[in-house]
Amino acid sequence: MVRRVLAVYGHHWRINALTALEYRANFLLWAAFAVVYHGTALGALWVTLHAFPSMNGWTFRDMTLLYGLWMLAHALHDTLFFGVGNVPEYVRDGEFDRLLVRPLDTLFAVIATPGQIFPDELFLALGFFIVATLYSGVRVDAVFVLCVPFVIAGGTLIELAINLLVATLAFWFVRVDALKWIVLQLESEFTRYPIGIYSRGVRLFLTFVFPFAFMNYFPAAYFLHKPATLALPPVAGLLTPVVGIAFLGLAYAFWRFGLKRYAGVGH
């Protein structure tokens, strides 16, 4: 069973790589877009903090680590689990029914559906994270080296959990594009800044409802010795993997519940 799953997954990546090779110019342009996307976000941060050196006690150097942590977890999620975001589209087109009759787990079938996926953004994120670690002046000790991989993995699970939640809603509400877009915006834009700048309600939301703050803010605050918000102890920053597993557990249970009730949209 495990070997079969691995074989299918291997094929998934083979097709992805072949697709990238087939459309080389297009692939390079999309890679260039990834650079521009993150470049403009960081550029805007740099300009802002060039004019105003401190944001609630965070400098531009601190915020590169904040961005690097988010970027790496996000890129890892998009490389491994990009397909989950396509579920609403599959449901709408009736394509989802085909995945249901596959002899493997449906969620796995979703994840292993090839697309134009290539780990270019992941390489970029890894490179940037190394630069940000050195530039931010964070102390690279044993705790940092040991914990960062778990924090990144946990951040990836958090993003997967939220996306799975939204994807499951598509079983009942066929159009979830608006919600999807707004969640993405919360995740990509609200995580760019230390969450201490937001009102209490938004901070609570980003910590306990859609826990994006655990992707980067709490870990970065811990590593950089910044006071965390919401009266949480600094060590909460190392809880990211726990939060990730807990939320993914909830999201997966909701997904199973949704699958049992799924009746198609009437194709």
């Binding site: 110019a25 297009n26 342009l29 999309w30 260039a32 877009f33 521009v36 996307y37 403009t40 550029g43 805007a44 300009v47 802002t48 060039h50 004019a51 105003f52 050196p53 401190s54 944001m55 609630n56 006690g57 159009r175 594009d177 608006a178 877009w181 707004i182 915006q185 919360l186 834009e189 609200f190 800044y193 201490g196 700048i197 937001y198 009102s199 938004v202």
Partner: protein
Amino acid sequence: MIADRAVRRFRFAPYLEFGKKAIAREATYRFDVFTSIGSFALRMYLLRMVWTALYARNAAPRDLPLHAILTYSAVALLMGLVLDVDQVSSLYTKLHDGSIVSDFLRPINVPLYFFADGTGEVLFHAALVVPSLAIALVLVHIDVPSPGTGAAFALSLVLGYFVGFTINFILNASAFWTLEIHAVQLIVTWLTDLLGGELVPLVLFPVALQHALFALPFAAMFSTPLLIYVGEIPPERYAAALGLQALWLAVLGAVCVVMWRAGSRRIVVQGG
């Protein structure tokens, strides 16, 4: 020959119809409306929090107090609702699926058809400004400019809109040659966000960069109208600022004409 006669006796009515049809088409995408307004509200909240936090702990720039920068951000977001619409995307679609051929057979001026269609699309999105403005007013206070400044802003906004139209036209018309344009289009959109002053006012950039950025067409889209609005460009510099916008419009417009002439002569239809 029918086409020749139609061109000689130009009639406005068909283009008005094309515009109306575009409005009706856009109105069917109701979910996009919710997305636009929802993401507008999120961005407005975010910008308010970001600027408030920055002004609380740092020395404010001498001529850009907090209320001015919040006004700038609100007006920039509202402008984005209209200026970020790719009103020429149907040109790309038609080049991609080959249906552009039938447009060339119709007794119409094809570029003017795309202009009418795009204007209709934009007018629909312009209607979103009303609910969005209401949301913005709940979150921030927007300064109201003097009538003179308001008029200069309106003129500059119109010029900025047309600069945006030419940039979109050039991007979509490049599909005459490349057939796949989305990545390039997104790259340009993101660069416009930053280099056009939509995210952060260009006057906050390091001085050495400012001079280069003010000269680029991106600034002609967003930055010029916005800086007029908040008074960063004083009345004595209106003529120069508007003149530069008009110059970019003329240059980009000329590029559009050249591209259209060259492109329409070499239409390649991909099977179909």
